[in-house]
């Protein structure tokens, strides 16, 4: 990987579905290595579609999409809004999935799986089944499953939207800790202003119909992200700024 090149680069990217709906229009977006970039927008603004395009799950209709990623199965991790665990498999086997599909034997994968489970705080839950876990724990398993492949980039599609606020705050902190440890590049989709401000160094504010990026907001990366930050002046100001951008984008005052 070339450190000066962005990992992902979208230029004038557009997506129009067969029924004529334009989900995305004119998207310019660079994801630098090590970034934690948030796509923030109302429902229907195409933010999830951007992730699906980056992941290669759908082809773009227009524009270019460059990926400076190693070839193969490990390139991209994906975490969905729902934990989407396999209910018939226990926690270990769920985390093992990616490696298993890659042909890695169970003994060879065991240390990796165990390390990932420890990393998300589920070291002792390997034998349990998804139905026995809380929503937050299921999401942790889902994150461990994505990270077990050691992807250079992790795409997260509103992963904490369905969780209660206390669990979400905890997972926000854990995600930041994980990122600083693993140096994974993260593209994070959310519709929560607070979550976007708390997590990211850069926010792409989006608007709908057609889905587009209306404003980029850079945050001071040196601010420590902790309990203090949530009640600090800077946090409040950022939230106000992002909120306004969201509002104006929706009213069509930007661009």
């Amino acid at each position: 990987m070339n450190p000066t090149m962005p990992l992902i680069s979208l230029r004038r990217l557009g997506k129009t579905y067969a029924n004529g709906t334009t989900a995305l229009d004119n998207i310019d977006l660079d994801v630098e290595a090590g970034a934690l970039l948030t796509l923030l927008g109302p429902s229907g603004c195409g933010k999830s579609t951007i992730l699906r395009l980056i992941a290669g799950l759908e082809p773009p209709s227009r524009g270019t999409l460059l990926r400076d990623l190693p070839a193969g199965r490990r390139a991209i991790g994906f975490v969905f809004q729902d934990a989407t665990l396999m209910p018939w498999a226990n926690v270990f086997d769920n985390v093992f999935l990616g490696l298993r599909l890659q042909g890695v034997s169970r003994p060879a994968a065991t240390p990796v799986v165990e390390e990932m489970l420890a990393l998300v705080g589920l070291a002792h839950e390997a034998g349990r089944f998804p139905r026995e876990l809380s929503g937050g724990m299921r999401m942790r398993v889902s994150i461990a499953r994505a990270l077990a492949m050691r992807p250079p980039i992790l795409l997260m599609d509103e992963p904490f939207a369905a969780l209660d606020e206390i669990t979400r705050f905890k997972l926000n902190d854990d995600l930041l800790a994980l990122q600083s440890e693993l140096k994974t590049t993260i593209v994070f989709v959310t519709h929560s202003v607070y979550e976007s401000v708390y997590l990211s160094r850069r926010i792409a504010v989006m608007a709908a119909r057609p889905g587009r990026i209306v404003k980029w907001i850079d945050l001071d990366a040196s601010l420590p992200r902790d309990k203090e930050f949530r009640v600090s002046q800077a946090y409040t100001q950022y939230c106000a700024e992002v909120s306004n951008a969201l509002q104006e984008g929706q009213n069509g005052n930007l661009i």
Binding site: M86, L97, L101
Partner: protein
């Protein structure tokens, strides 16, 4: 919290099962009383006690016949599982197979088995014809349920498998088959009952006597001889067999799915 007292467990059992058991026993008692008080002759309507007595007395005729019918039922069910699930897997892998063979399956399904049986009896020996009939009715629910299950794997999981570049075979083994399991077991529960019905109907149509005679033939035979108590005894056995098959398949399904029924568990 206090542990459940035996008496309260008994109370709960009584609330759940008390009324149906009482109603059932009451109906039997009313039947018995009606027959005795009105001196209804057994060849018109035998009392429940006489039916029970006949069950015991005629066991040497009825139980071997039941064994024959059950053997047919289970062989047909097994064939339906192999054939139905196997064809469903082929359908899921190749659309053209589905498009080509589904019409046949539907034609066989919508044609009443009682109408097919006489034809099969021309081409096949009676026991084989009975088996084929039972298979035909049991086959379709397994096929259609399994096919539905194979097609209803979670969308996001399907995307994840795509992202991990899983092969078609890997997707089948690790995603589609496990996703289809609850649907398959649902189909199996229906098919179990239908296999028994198919076997009974075909036995009536075949009407073959002798050593390989099934329970349905024994019932028909008892009817010709106006041995009404034996008809009732045979019917009772068929009902019990049907209930046992359904309960066994329901228990099997619960045992297999018990630990991964995410939705049901979280609803409780």
């Amino acid at each position: 919290m206090k542990p459940l007292q035996p008496s309260s467990e008994l109370a709960r059992w009584m609330t759940n099962y008390g009324p149906p058991v009482l109603v059932f026993l009451g109906a039997l008692a009313a039947w018995e009383a009606y027959v005795r008080l009105n001196h209804v002759p057994p060849f018109i309507l035998p009392a429940p006690s006489l039916v029970l007595q006949t069950l015991v007395d005629d066991r040497n005729v009825l139980l071997p016949a039941l064994a024959v019918t059950l053997e047919t039922t289970f062989a047909a069910l097994l064939a339906a599982i192999v054939g139905g699930a196997g064809l469903a897997i082929l359908f899921s892998q190749w659309r053209w197979v589905e498009r080509s063979f589904l019409p046949f399956a539907i034609v066989l399904q919508v044609t009443p088995v009682i109408a097919i049986a006489p034809l099969l009896l021309i081409y096949l020996e009676a026991p084989q014809a009975v088996l084929v009939c039972a298979f035909l009715v049991a086959f379709f629910p397994i096929l259609s349920n399994t096919a539905l299950g194979l097609a209803s794997a979670d969308r996001n999981l399907t995307d994840l498998f795509k992202l991990y570049r899983a092969t078609r075979w890997q997707t089948l083994i690790h995603l589609r088959l496990p996703s289809a399991l609850p649907y398959f077991l649902g189909g199996l529960r229906i098919a179990g009952g239908l296999a028994l019905i198919g076997a009974i109907v075909a036995e009536l149509a075949a009407g073959n006597a002798g050593k390989g005679a099934g329970l349905a033939f024994r019932i028909a035979e008892a009817g010709y001889r106006l041995n009404i108590p034996r008809m009732f005894a045979g019917l009772t056995l068929i009902s019990l067999a049907g209930i046992a098959i359904f309960a066994a398949l329901a228990a099997l399904s619960k045992a297999i799915l018990g630990h991964w029924r995410m939705n049901e568990a979280s609803r409780r």
